[in-house]
């Protein structure tokens, strides 16, 4: 299963450059204004809106991260991942033959095997949260071991958490080394670095942690575990997207982005995609370069798409449960 991830999707990182970390300046009020006003500047309507919502489905990391997860629960999730939209709705929209799956299925290490089994034969990768998720305070060797074990079990994407202490105390060199070690352990799997924005205190820390994670070789930067008190927001995402843009400007390498936690509605999802299009560009508008870390979002997308297909407002129970 461990296909080699294409080179274009990998970030080889750069040497640690403290000056680049210090150079990042973020004005929160201005960032919030941009995030707020973008909704008034860009919108998609009618069939374009449907297209964007379909695209959003293809970018979901369909996730279950609960203490009571079981193989049976994970198999059900995988089934939904492979068929996220009711075929009848697809038919009504004239896209019955269009392949549509979510971006990945995201589980804890112990559920990787069940997920890999359930998704066998499809292109949908399994992502494993790792490194002592969500707090990330397990011994380093344990965290590295967890990555290796998940990769060995067939996970093609690894969602790691950074040590917040290193961010809060501005220990950027150590953060760099930590993420670099995680990347090494992940080998051919794509690495998503969760910086846990809700615990970093300021957007400047968000920007700097993002930049360090990318320098260290993270293939994705990801906002949150979904377990912090605040998770993905448009302002936070704007800051991270701009860091990705800056990293590309400096190195030519494209890093993917994953907002996670708190994105529940189709409207939210489209707002994120608009921001991606405006701040990063069309090259990021696909599941290789962008993911939603979400569990409830899919249901709302299904309902909104059904409304466009039938003209009738939909209900949750009419869509297959994830």
């Amino acid at each position: 299963m461990n296909d080699v991830t294409p080179h274009r999707l990998r970030n080889s990182g750069i040497q640690f450059d403290p000056a680049l970390v210090d150079a990042q300046r973020i004005n929160m009020s201005a960032v919030e204004r941009r995030a707020t006003s973008l909704g008034g500047r860009r919108t998609v309507k009618k069939e374009w809106q449907v297209a964007w919502m379909l695209r959003a489905i293809s970018m979901i990391d369909l996730t279950t991260l609960q203490g009571d997860d079981t193989p049976g629960r994970v198999r059900r999730l995988c089934a939904k991942a492979l068929n996220p939209l009711d075929p009848a709705i697809k038919a009504a929209l004239g896209i019955a033959d269009m392949p549509l799956t979510v971006g990945a299925v995201c589980v804890y290490h112990s559920m990787v095997e069940a997920a890999v089994e359930a998704l066998r034969g499809s292109q949908v990768p399994v992502a494993a949260v790792s490194t002592g998720f969500p707090a990330g305070l397990a011994p380093m060797e344990t965290r590295l071991q967890e990555i290796r074990a998940s990769v060995a079990a067939g996970a093609r994407e690894i969602d790691i958490v950074v040590t917040r202490n290193l961010v809060l105390n501005q220990r950027w060199g150590e953060l760099y080394e930590e993420v670099q070690a995680f990347c090494e352990a992940a080998g051919s799997a794509r690495l998503k670095a969760i910086i846990a924005v809700g615990e970093l205190g300021s957007l400047t820390n968000v920007a700097r942690a993002s930049m360090v994670a990318m320098m260290a070789g993270a293939d994705f930067i990801k906002t949150s575990t979904g377990m912090e008190s605040s998770n993905a927001t448009l302002p936070v995402s704007l800051v991270m997207m701009r860091q990705i843009r800056e990293f590309q400007r400096l190195t030519g390498q494209k890093v993917a982005f994953k907002p996670a936690g708190g994105i529940r509605t189709a409207k939210d999802a489209v707002a994120y995609l608009i921001m991606v299009k405006e701040e990063l560009g069309d090259e990021w508008l696909n599941s290789d370069m962008f993911r939603f870390g979400a569990s409830g979002l899919l249901n709302d997308l299904e309902r909104q798409i059904e409304f466009h297909a039938t003209g009738r407002y939909s209900a949750s129970y009419r869509h297959a449960m994830a």
Partner: protein, 799 residues
């Protein structure tokens, strides 16, 4: 394009706003509009109609009446008739109407937004999220002022009938900025919208009918510049308020010079947008979209000059170009655009001409390769580099989506370049260093300074300019005060003829010859022309000689005042101490001054003693105010504050009246310097020895050189030199209507702030007139510094 194609391409697709409701409103009026006068729509003949177009698709929207002088007269008469009752209605009564207007605008905001977007060509996003929202907010805020007027504005009265002329760039918002404070203060209004964009004003009139505003309180007369001229020239208008170009503002000012019409002007700008190397550059680039690509750059306070620190210049330009390449231009009702149409083809011609001229002068023009609409009046977003500070695109207001870039090295150089302009409306400063931000903001010659932001507006926060960007403020208490005058001003008697002494003999007494010189730069200076003139006592005896000043003496005095610029930055406590010291030293010489006053004015000793004692009291008052006339801290609806700072006007020319020679001089000069101004004072020609006697008092009181300068001689002649001096920021002159007209006309060129008696008599012994806030207000400019803040992620809630 199939759904699958759309899925593949991820394009936006069209998102038009529905215009049906607005079109239905136009149709309901037969797409033809007369004036709204005395609460009624006036029928119009065919000959006097002109068409208004939608610039986004060049379709005719309606036909509108061209107002004649007769129409204007009818409107002014209606306003005059309605005014006493409107004023008498009281604060609460007026507040109820203003509140009703605010509610109506909110309830019908969509139709107004669409109408405005159609008529002007600006994007529906802006009219929906900005113009109409701010307009409603303005009426709410001023409903509040009306409610509080009786208690909080005691001692002030409305002007009466106000003529208002508004521009086409924010038609509905400018209407609200004009009408709300005027009505709150108890004035009635004749408003002329710009001929390109009358529709939202006509909708407003329609709405006023529905809320039952008393007839004549608001009158709308449509038409072009000729209609505006008729309103400006109308004899029965008490106050004029104009927003528009500096060129037209000057014409208006000259035209009302010498009348006692009050005037406020909100004019053009070439506002700096300053980005320091420690700024959040991506946010600063995004801010530019709101600064210069907002409303297609047709914004008086547009950040059209980008001043960027040299160390980040290239990075910044690269980011700007990338951002410009993402701008979307489309029809005004498209909800998926950044920029839409210009108001009129003539505006596009102007922009093209100025950009071509800038190019011819050596600048590099860059425009992104983005899709432009095929029809309609559009101009692409434009970046101009390699311009230098002399290029036309760096100096002239283009009023289009054109940004001109220049670099600077240090903070001081940034401020100097920012102020290197005739204008002074607004400025933006981008830095993450609060020390830098708060240090540079007071240094910028601009009525509004935005820290890490741009184009913030709020009804509670005054807006208006320095220098040739006009005078007067809109919004805040300072804006409201432009629609009020001190009660005493309504009752000023005509100036009495001043009896000149009849010389009897030209022989001095046998005392030692005392030669009064000028007082310039802290020293007594001989007249440049080397001449003196005799000053006679009231009885006709020769009291002495005074230096006969000429234009070079004025030049020297202004140079000295210019060199004393540190005075405005000195502490208020220091200024107070010096003014108290002046009082102390003057008091020492009471006998001498009382005698001099008796000698020159011929008044009884008791009268002159009173004048002297009042003068001492005035000095105490000015000293007292020095550290108490503080600004305000506004809390606009955002996470941030706006500091309203009272800043000195700068260099003031003060041409004193021919009466109360000591009291008037002290009552005018003392508050002026208390507020941090530097003064060139011209005493009354035949009473000048009172002023020259003051030299020694000034010299012994630690007044820094150049803060007070006194030039004697032919006052009118000297005042005219001062009025025409471009380095003088304000002029106060007391004289007959003709002399004031001459001063005001000359003062217009560099838009000096003026205070003119226009042939009315000011009795400086009257405490309400001789001191207090109304004088301090004339000695200051209000600068509003917007400071958004916040760094705690999560909005700072819950800690």
């Amino acid at each position: 394009m199939s759904l699958k194609d759309k899925f593949e391409s991820m394009e936006y697709g069209p998102a038009p706003e529905d215009s049906a409701q607005a079109i239905a409103w136009l149709d309901a009026h037969g797409r033809k509009f007369g004036h709204f006068i005395g609460g009624e729509w006036h029928a119009v003949g065919k000959s006097s109609l002109f068409a208004t177009y939608s610039p986004s698709d060049e379709q005719e929207l309606a036909r509108i009446a061209q107002g004649s002088a007769k129409d204007v007269d009818a409107a002014v008469k209606a306003a005059r008739k309605a005014q006493p009752a409107w004023q008498k209605l009281g604060g609460h009564g007026r507040a109820r109407y203003l509140y009703a207007i605010a509610r109506q605008i909110q309830k019908h905001s969509r139709v107004v937004a669409v109408l405005e977007s159609l008529d002007n060509g600006k994007s529906i996003r802006e009219t929906r999220d900005l113009d109409t929202q701010l307009a409603a907010r303005h009426f709410y805020h001023h409903a509040g002022w009306a409610q509080l007027a009786d208690s909080e504005l005691a001692g002030y009265v409305p002007h009466g009938v106000v003529g208002q002329i508004i521009p086409w760039n924010f038609p509905f918002l400018m209407l609200s900025w004009k009408i709300a404070p005027a009505l709150a203060a108890g004035n009635t209004v004749v408003l002329k919208p710009a001929e390109f964009t009358s529709l939202s004003a006509l909708w407003f009139a329609d709405m006023l009918e529905q809320i039952g505003l008393p007839p004549g309180v608001v009158n709308i007369v449509t038409g072009d510049g000729r209609t505006g001229a008729a309103l400006v020239e109308h004899r029965d208008v008490d106050k004029l308020a104009f927003t528009g170009s500096t060129e037209v503002g000057k014409i208006i000012r000259r035209s009302v010079a010498g009348s006692s019409k009050a005037l406020t002007l909100e004019l053009g700008g070439k506002s700096p947008y300053i980005v320091f190397e420690d700024a959040d550059l991506d946010s600063a680039v995004e801010g530019l979209v709101d600064a210069i690509w907002f409303n297609q750059g047709q914004v008086c306070c547009a950040g059209s000059r980008l001043l960027v620190q040299e160390s980040i210049e290239q990075a910044m330009i690269e980011k700007i170009k990338a951002r410009m390449s993402k701008l979307r231009i489309g029809p005004s009702l498209d909800k998926c655009i950044d920029m839409s149409a210009l108001v009129d083809a003539s505006q596009r011609d102007t922009i093209e001409r100025l950009v071509a001229q800038g190019k011819a002068e050596g600048a590099t023009i860059w425009q992104p390769e983005i899709a432009m609409p095929e029809k309609g009046i559009f101009y692409p977003p434009t970046l101009i580099t390699d311009a230098g500070s002399a290029n036309v695109c760096m100096r002239e207001e283009i009023f289009g989506p054109v940004l001109t870039v220049i670099s600077f090295r240090t903070q001081a150089e940034g401020a100097q370049l920012a102020n290197n302009t005739r204008y002074g409306l607004a400025a933006s400063v981008w830095t993450e260093n609060i020390n830098r931000a708060l240090e540079i903001a007071p240094k910028l010659k601009a009525g509004v300074v935005w820290i890490n932001g741009t184009n913030f507006f709020d009804a509670a926060v005054g807006f208006g300019g320095y220098r040739e960007s006009g005078f007067g403020r809109e919004g805040g208490i300072e804006g409201l005060q432009a629609y009020l005058k001190p009660a005493f001003e309504a009752k000023l008697p005509p100036q009495k003829p001043v009896p000149l002494p009849k010389p009897k003999h030209d022989v001095l007494s046998d005392a030692i010859d005392r030669t009064a010189k000028m007082y310039v730069g802290g020293k007594q200076a001989r007249a440049d022309g080397g001449s003196s003139y005799p000053v006679y006592s009231a009885k006709g005896g020769l009291a002495g000689h005074a230096a006969l000043g000429n234009r070079k003496d004025i030049r020297n005095a202004v140079e000295a005042a210019d060199a004393a610029s540190g005075w405005g930055a000195s502490t208020a406590h220091l200024r107070a101490q010096i003014i108290y010291y002046l009082a102390e030293n003057l008091e020492e010489r009471r006998g001498e001054f009382v005698a001099r006053l008796v000698e020159l004015t011929g008044a009884a000793k008791a009268t002159t003693a009173k004048e002297f004692d009042l003068s001492i009291s005035r000095l105490f008052s000015a000293a007292a105010w020095a550290d108490k006339y503080d600004g305000r801290v506004h809390q606009p609806p955002m996470r941030g504050v706006a500091l309203a700072m009272n800043e000195p006007v700068g260099i003031l020319g003060i041409s004193c009246p021919d009466w109360q020679p000591l009291l008037s001089l002290v009552s005018l000069v003392a508050p002026a310097i208390a507020m941090g101004n530097r003064v060139v004072a011209l005493p009354s020609e035949h009473l000048s020895l009172v002023a020259t006697d003051l030299y020694q008092v000034i010299e012994t009181s630690d007044v820094p050189a150049g803060v007070i300068n006194i030039v004697t001689g032919k006052r009118q002649e000297l005042a005219e030199v001062l009025a025409a001096h471009d380095n003088v920021d304000g002029i106060w002159h007391f004289g007959d209507a003709d002399s004031c007209r001459a001063i005001e006309t000359l003062a217009t060129d560099n838009m000096k702030r003026s205070w003119l008696s226009n042939g009315r008599h000011y009795d400086f012994a009257d405490p309400a007139l001789g001191e207090g806030e109304h004088v301090l207000r004339r000695a200051t400019e209000v600068k509003n510094i917007w400071i958004p803040y916040g760094d705690q992620l999560g909005g700072g809630k819950g800690y």
